[in-house]
């Protein structure tokens, strides 16, 4: 039977690109954008995207009664967090005057301080927007067919700082060296947008579809 892939929809941002990109590489898999906890429980794989402010994201997750479904999926099946879908896995964010997050991992989400200078003599712009290199900090099935230091598309003003450095699957430099992906067991989550990262991003999504945990 064709596998089921759930793209979690909690009303934060348009998920069309994510679902289309997953469909593009998923063969005959059934890809569904959903806020139904039962479908998420039932799915073979779960993609957890998101954009917007931390406080709004957390409010939307609660409104859709998705906290538990997200944590269950993150505990027991291939789980891919993208952008805010990485950040909200942490304990706490500085955003919106301090926001409690899902707390799956100990760590803080911090804003780029805007103090670092770029190579053109102007302060680095915030948001960090565009194609930056991703340094693979561990071997992982998600890197299959992707060269180390490949570029992916980023757009964000906050970055995760996990306490447990063994989680770090990738780092990226933008004034400061920050964690651009984390991995543990069945979970992989990244700050960049594979659905907007051309062929490299599609390869990563394909690796997720084929990932045997």
């Amino acid at each position: 039977m064709a596998q089921k892939i759930a793209v979690i929809d909690y009303g934060m941002g348009n998920l069309r690109s994510v679902s289309k990109a997953v469909e593009h590489v998923a063969g005959d898999a059934q890809v569904r954008v959903t806020d139904d906890p039962r479908y998420i429980d039932d799915a073979d794989r779960v993609v957890f995207p998101g954009q917007g402010a931390a406080r709004d994201c957390m409010a939307a997750i609660r409104e859709h009664h998705l906290n538990q479904a997200i944590l269950r999926a993150a505990a027991n099946k291939p789980f891919l967090g993208i952008c805010m879908g990485l950040q909200v896995l942490m304990r706490h964010s500085e955003e919106n005057g301090g926001t409690g997050l899902l707390g799956l991992f100990e760590g803080e989400v911090k804003r780029f301080d805007g103090l670092a200078m770029g190579d053109n003599g102007l302060p680095l712009k915030i948001p960090h927007m565009g194609w930056s290199t991703v340094h693979q900090a561990m071997a992982h099935p998600m890197w299959e067919g992707i060269e180390d230091e490949s570029r992916f598309y980023f757009v964000h003003s906050y970055r995760v700082v996990p306490e447990d450095v063994s989680l770090i699957a990738a780092t990226t430099d933008y004034g400061v060296r920050f964690t651009s992906a984390i991995a543990r067991d069945n979970l992989f989550a990244m700050q960049f947008h594979p659905e907007k990262s051309a062929a490299t991003g599609l390869q990563l999504l394909k690796n997720f579809v084929n990932w045997n945990v």
């Binding site: 941002g13 348009n14 069309r16 690109s17 289309k20 990109a21 593009h24 954009q51 917007g52 402010a53 805007g114 770029g118 190579d119 053109n120 003599g121 102007l122 302060p123 680095l124 712009k125 915030i126 948001p127 960090h128 927007m129 565009g130 194609w131 930056s132 290199t133 230091e149 570029r151 598309y153 757009v155 964000h156 430099d173 933008y174 659905e195 907007k196 990262s197 051309a198 991003g201 599609l202």
Partner: protein, 252 residues
Amino acid sequence: MGLAKRIIPCLDVDNGRVVKGVKFVEIRDAGDPVEVARRYNEEGADEITFLDITATAHERETMVHVVEQVASEVFIPLTVGGGIRKAEDVLRMLNAGADKVAINSAAVFNPEFVREVTDRFGSQCIVVAIDAKRVDDHWEIFTHGGRKPTGIDAIGWARKMTDYGAGEILLTSMDRDGTKIGFDNELTHAVAAAVPVPVIASGGVGNLQHLVDGIKEGGADAVLAASIFHFAEYSIGEAKRFMAQQGVEVRM
């Protein structure tokens, strides 16, 4: 290695068709935005911007379908501008698959509109497009394709728009637009130094050195060009190789 400077081809779309001609040898239909976007993606474009130059509301609806189609098969960031006046227009484009929406004259007529849509949709997806022209010793913003002066200082305006939440500035020099003599790098640098968000330089590109100058002299984070890519004078790949040779960090 850090953040690459972005190369953004811009397509003018009228009633669902690319205008101003695109010459790719292998393309069957140079007027089909999907085919053109696919080709730019293959050549290594870092983003694509669509400018809807359609006159009527009915034809504007066509743009939504264009964005839907492109977003279904081209997986790089897409920006859509032209005729965005209401929050509903922004929502429709984002739902169709646009990553960013550019707002130009609607911001001039009602600056609060920018605050409204950045609050609702997030700064990351709102680009404010500024058409600036030199007047004496400064630059002013113009509307109606550069015909109508507003008396508003361009640098102050850019700063105000980012205060209102704009996540990026698309800056077009109306003095240079269509001239092929290069960006107004002085203008670009003045804006880039004044705002904390990325600035895209636009207007005046005639050769590849102009792209380099926009980055090095103008301090732009991205460069946008239309005709040099449309008429296949240069491919995006050629542009990137040239820029890399000149010491500009690009995504190859």
